[in-house]
């Protein structure tokens, strides 16, 4: 076999793999759409937002309570995770003694690698009883948000940390020449320069929280309702799919695919927004 033959064959197999890998997305979208179609065509898209409650066996498919629950748990989680994540990165870069900072970074990386089902287990056995003591039933919107924030905090911390590492040393030299304190430098120079990355990291964290299933399934109670307080049990879109997929048939099953498609759309818009904002993004 000649050299050219071998190279041509290599190129062909590489191209075939690439077509397969990028065609996978098309296949996924196609299958989700095909499975969603029966419900979308029979029930109509507006029934998913303005219907009469979620009673899938009686043909009522209102996703609004689940959508509200998903948005509420994940925005709340982001609101908690962002300050802690940014503070963690600032600490690790500018405050911690060297050894201490290394240990702390190690903690953040371990936390990032902890499977969500383990965080859910821990939340269910420690955080939920604490919240139950405050206000029953314990499994609630706030429990879901707190555990989610623990899960997504490393994403914010590592993204911010990477952005801080990429800043030129001259920022500090310039600030020192102006006689600025460490805190003044952080507030006036460092954070504004890292703003795009912090924003990207936060949006990415929000997307991860929206797409997370196990944590919210385990600690937030799974009652279909629009929450009126932080201590109400709620059911998110992801938890709803996980709970009902086991026995759903017909339009009911199809409506779960509709919610999956909606969820994927929502998460993708956020992911694209994060990428477009021009900051560094760390996959954690």
């Amino acid at each position: 076999m000649s050299r050219l033959d071998r190279d041509t064959r290599l190129l062909w197999s590489l191209s075939a793999s690439a077509v397969l890998a990028s065609g996978l997305l098309l296949l996924i979208v196609l299958f989700l759409a095909a499975e969603s179609w029966p419900a979308l065509s029979r029930v109509g898209i507006q029934a998913f937002f303005f219907g009469k409650g979620w009673h899938p066996t009686e043909g009522a498919f209102d996703l609004t309570p689940m959508l509200v629950a998903s948005l509420a748990t994940s925005t709340l989680a982001m609101a908690v995770a962002v300050p802690f994540g940014v503070a963690s990165a600032l600490f690790q870069r500018f405050y911690a003694p060297v050894l201490f900072g290394q240990i702390y970074l190690w903690i953040i990386v371990l936390l990032a690698g902890t499977p969500s089902v383990v965080l859910g287990l821990w939340g269910l056995t420690t955080i939920v009883p604490l919240i139950l003591w405050l206000a029953p039933p314990g499994t609630s919107l706030i429990a879901g948000s707190l555990i989610l924030s623990l899960m997504i905090m490393p994403t914010v911390a590592l993204t911010t940390d990477a952005a801080l590492a990429a800043l030129p040393q001259s920022h500090w030299a310039g600030a020192a020449a102006l006689g600025l304190s460490r805190e003044a430098t952080i507030i006036n120079v460092i954070l504004p320069s890292a703003r795009a990355s912090i924003f990207a990291g936060s949006i990415l964290a929000l997307a991860r929280a929206l797409g997370e299933t196990m944590v919210v399934l385990m600690v937030s109670g799974n009652v279909v309702q629009v929450p009126t307080s932080l201590f109400d049990p709620v059911r998110t879109l992801t938890a709803n799919i996980a709970l009902e997929m086991a026995y759903a048939t017909g339009d009911h099953r199809s409506s779960l695919f509709v919610s999956g498609l909606a969820l994927a759309g929502l998460v993708l818009i956020l992911a694209i927004a994060a990428r477009r904002s021009g900051g560094h993004v760390v996959h954690a």
Partner: protein, 291 residues
Amino acid sequence: MPDVCVAPPAAYLHVRDTLLRAAVWSATLLVGAVFAWLLADLLGQGAARIDWSFLTSAPRNAGRSGGIAPILVSTLVVVVVAIAVAAPLGLATAVLLAEVVRRGGRTERLIGLSLDVLAGIPSIVFGLFGNAFFCIWLGLGFSILAGGLTLACMVLPILIRTAESGLRMVPNDWRFGAAALGLSRAATLWQILIPAAAPALLAGLMLGIGRAMAETAALVFTSGYVDRMPSSLWDSGRAISVHIYDLSMNVAGGDQSAYASALVLIVLLIMINSAAIWLADILLVRRIKMI
């Protein structure tokens, strides 16, 4: 004389600096404390249940007693299937992206976009797709094979992106040298580029294995719940993360076994990560000696 004093009074600045410093320290301490609490619970509640027989016997009484041997086997096989499918496909796509197509060209942007979208899809949606495509359309049913293939789709973008960046880090001089020696592109790839990028490829592989092992939501409706020892790829098998979920949610009094399984899972993940770092170091040292 015009008033040019723009700085706030020094006392205010001092208070602000102190507050920021206090906020950073207390946030960090809180995160550290929560982590210590999590670790203490995992060790305190999990370690007591773990011994040799926990790892080598079958679960009894819905997992309250007995061990996790069939669950470990199922987890291992699911992950092996996922990696065996995703790794060759991922490596080939990465080689195409890094070595063949023009950087920033239309092909690269198109493939890159679809990979980024794929990486952003929530795992439960992968579960839906896996159930509809592998279990029902391809007729694999609830099986280890269906679960493994679903996970392969999930880890594919991670494998491709890490392999691509590994290949891009190989200096161009090596490619020029190979071309000057008259090596074919295939030989350059196998003899030079892949060995040179091996640490990065391995690290990416380990990242993918870790991600696959920690996954729950995509597996519940693809590889299923059955906790018997699987006898073939077409059997349903319960992965360890699904086991933790089931024990904690559906089995009253299963918390201790759930913590023990969680501890086993985390120790496995840490071992995989350390192995990745160790292998990467060894290969890097060997490469430096070679130069």
